[in-house]
């Protein structure tokens, strides 16, 4: 297999290198890629969409249809992970382990036994060896709000600086993942329930596709945000800018929820226990 793999890889590489012979030079400003379509995007974007970040404009307006499916891809990735891994009817082990947070002592509760309800002093653990580090927990707790704030900023400021819905969404998702890693998955899931993930994820995509469909209902083509002008009471170009913002928010919501969803399923193999 190794030999075959090597041969295939080398052959493919040879073919690809053969193809590069007729390429324009690297970073050549006169290459077709730089002269055919991109000048239009660079020169007209401000006029047509009033978004300075050309990437955002192209992403969410000129090629917004691509981006809608990009969001759908991640959404379907989430659904696939869920459908593959999630185990609903799992038999609970007879003995359950709890840790007394203040002392660090581990308690084994026999079947039928209960710990005091509404007590924050105990946390459920799954194995005797479950690390517990106060410093990490505290620092992460402190850090997470700022990460989230940054995530929101990235989404909202996508028009003017690098970033946008996708990056912001990942950052927001990462903040919850950080929580899940530093505490444990149960804590994170308490903050953001599985159902919330599962609902937000399609909702985000729905915001995106729904905006496009709204344009369609307003009489223009799908994803033609200038149709929103009549709803938002602005001129068509600004409407495009606003439309981009709306879909970026949709992307952000979808990506955040989906990333968390995937992480939850992967890290607990679908059992939603303590996670990593």
């Amino acid at each position: 297999m190794k030999i075959i793999g090597l041969i295939i890889a080398v052959l493919t590489g040879a073919l690809l290198i053969y193809g590069t012979v007729d390429f324009p030079g690297w970073a050549d400003p006169a290459s077709p890629a730089s002269t055919h379509l991109s000048p239009h995007f660079i020169e007209k974007t401000m006029e047509e969409t009033s978004v300075p970040n050309i990437v955002t404009a192209v992403l969410a307006d000129y090629r917004s249809y691509d981006t809608m499916f990009e969001t759908t891809v991640i959404f379907s990735g989430g659904v696939v992970c869920f459908i593959l891994l999630r185990i609903f009817r799992r038999k609970e082990p007879e003995d359950r382990l709890y840790r007394h947070v203040l002392t660090g002592a581990t308690i084994r509760v026999k079947e039928g036994g209960k710990i005091p309800p509404d007590s924050d002093d105990f946390e459920r653990i799954d194995t005797l060896w479950t690390p517990h580090d106060l410093i990490i927990k505290t620092v992460c707790r402190l850090l997470i709000p700022f990460i989230q704030l940054f995530g929101l900023y990235v989404i909202a400021h996508g028009h003017h600086s690098p970033g946008g819905g996708f990056q912001g969404g990942v950052i927001l998702g990462a903040s919850i993942m950080l929580l899940a890693i530093s505490q444990d998955l149960r804590t994170a899931v308490q903050r953001m329930r599985e159902k919330v993930d599962a609902l937000l994820s399609p909702t985000g995509v729905f915001i995106y596709a729904g905006t496009g469909a709204l344009c369609l209902l307003l009489g223009l083509n799908f994803m033609d945000y200038s149709a929103l002008a009549s709803v938002l009471y602005v001129d068509p170009v600004t409407a495009r800018s606003h439309g981009i913002l709306i879909v970026e928010i949709g992307v952000g919501v979808a990506v955040m929820a989906t990333i968390i969803w995937i992480y939850n399923n992967l890290s607990s193999a679908g059992k939603y226990d303590e996670g990593l």
């Binding site: 193809g19 007729d22 499916f69 379907s76």
Partner: protein, 498 residues
């Protein structure tokens, strides 16, 4: 609303998939009606679109209102229109037919399953309708990802098979992406029509050649063209029946469509058939694909796995037909996309019904099925006849054009391979029919004559009725071949191909 059909056929299923996902958490019983409604609307739009194309010619739909090549545009011509209709109708019929088996196989994951199902159809429809090379990649990935999910839901070996499919599928998609990248670097465009306009001056470019090869290899990987087929049999065999009867008829066919689209629209027949001079070797590959598919199918003792090898052989038919480089062969390939989608659907639905009732599909499980499930097996017979190529079922007519193409191209081995595969299909299926028809069902042997007939234990009506519709369609499409060819396919093939 008819001018919005191109958007509707993708957007409605997409939005519904999202709604289904939400509905799955609220009330599981809502999922199925929403899915049916969505695919119904999609099918309606597709057929409406086809009718419009027949009237008006090529329809261009600008997404976001941006002119191509700036924005993404749909180009809907006769070829798309036909394939779109087939895809949407097949998906709809299969959805209705599969409801019971979905309920049976995944009682607690109905919502996500329908979500993936509808998303997959969205992806396939999107692939067919789009006119943008990169957009096609994204949709390819949607169809692929959801496909991995659906296929992996099956019995115990399914995840492994799906994982192998994922590796191969990803390599295929990456190759496609690389090919598009090579084209982009020399043309600066992603729009298929625009690329086609720029390409003629670059026909001698090595980059274009590299792009072409890598792109074709990618597409072949995805369609399981021999010898790149290794992922397919296991992936389809162990899949849940609802998934395999969606994916087996459609995915390979849609990839064939992509190949034909790239030959006809992007690279133009002039480049593909005349400048490159590789068609002959590709037809040879197709010959090997057909023969190997047939031989491998012969070795199987498991209904579903055998069907998957037949799928591989059928891929060879279409690739070979398309690369014969003449009108008859191309007509045959396009016609076979339609026919093969229907007949594969038919036989896989039968397999689904059998699994639903018997929980198994090894040959030994099939004994006495004609008495037990007469309606299912009648439809199976029709599907089989079509696969063998017995007139007046549609399988005969696409084979007719393929063989005619082979004769006109004087490629006798391709003709021989087609005939060989027909013969092998006959052997394969009559082996099954013999078991199912003439062997007694239970272990109580037929002592002498005049034993009591087995009680009929047919699959539920909701599975049988769509199956019968498909079986009837096999004959009806066969009889209307002439109309399909003269009114649709003839216009789908550029004038240049004789």
């Amino acid at each position: 609303m008819s001018e919005q059909y191109p958007a509707l056929l993708v957007v409605v299923p997409l939005l519904s998939a999202l709604v289904i996902c939400v509905a799955g958490w609220v009330n599981k019983r809502l999922c199925f009606p929403i899915a049916v409604a969505a695919l119904g609307v999609a099918a309606y739009s597709c057929i409406g679109l086809l009718l419009r194309v027949l009237d008006e010619g090529v329809i261009v739909y600008k997404l976001g209102g941006w002119d191509p090549p700036m924005g993404i545009a749909y180009y809907v011509d006769h070829l798309n229109g036909l394939v779109l209709s087939v895809v949407s109708v097949v998906a709809l019929l299969n959805l209705i037919a599969s409801k019971k088996s979905i309920d049976q196989e995944f009682p607690d994951k109905i919502g996500p399953f329908y979500t993936l199902y509808v998303l997959m159809v969205t992806g396939l429809l999107g692939i067919v309708v789009t006119g943008d090379a990169f957009n096609l990649y994204v949709l390819l990935e949607i169809a692929a990802l959801t496909g991995y999910g659906l296929l992996a839901m099956g019995e115990d070996r399914a995840p492994l098979a799906a994982l192998n499919y994922l590796y191969m599928g990803t390599i295929g998609a990456c190759f496609y992406l690389l090919g598009v990248g090579y084209l982009y670097i020399v043309t600066g465009s992603l729009n298929m029509v625009d690329i086609a306009k720029i390409l003629p001056s670059l026909y001698q470019s090595k980059a274009v050649l590299g792009a072409f090869i890598i792109l074709m290899v990618g597409v072949w990987l995805k369609m399981a063209f021999f010898p790149l087929h290794a992922w397919l049999p296991n992936a389809y065999t162990y899949a849940p029946s609802a998934a395999s009867s969606l994916i087996a008829p459609l995915v390979t066919k849609v990839m064939i469509y992509v190949m034909i689209r790239f030959i006809l629209t992007v690279f133009t027949p002039e480049f593909a058939f005349n400048i490159l001079a590789v068609s002959d070797s590709i037809v040879w590959l197709a010959v090997i694909a057909i023969v190997m598919g047939a031989i491998l199918a012969l070795a199987e003792r498991n209904l579903k796995k055998m069907l998957t090898y037949i799928v591989i052989a059928e891929v060879g038919y279409m690739v070979g037909g398309a690369w014969l480089g003449n009108r008859a062969g191309m007509t045959g390939a396009i016609l076979h996309i339609v026919n093969d989608a229907l007949m594969t659907l038919c036989v896989f639905l039968v397999a689904g019904n059998i699994v639903y009732k018997l929980k198994g599909y090894a040959f030994d499980d099939l004994k006495g099925l004609y008495r037990k499930m007469p309606f299912t097996m009648t439809a199976f017979t029709v599907g089989v006849l079509s696969m063998i190529g017995v007139p007046p079922t549609c399988g005969f007519f696409s084979k007719w054009y393929l063989i005619l193409g082979a004769i006109r191209a004087e490629h006798w081995f391709f003709m021989g391979a087609l005939l060989f595969s027909s013969l092998v299909n006959a052997v394969l299926f009559f082996r099954i029919i013999e078991i199912a028809f003439f062997e007694p069902f239970t272990d109580h042997h037929a002592h002498g004559h005049d034993h009591q007939p087995e009680p009929i234990d047919e699959a539920p009506l909701s599975m049988v009725v769509p199956l019968w519709i498909v079986a009837a369609a096999l004959v009806i499409v066969g009889i209307y071949t002439s109309d399909i060819v003269t009114k649709i396919i003839q216009f789908a093939i550029p004038e240049g191909i004789l």
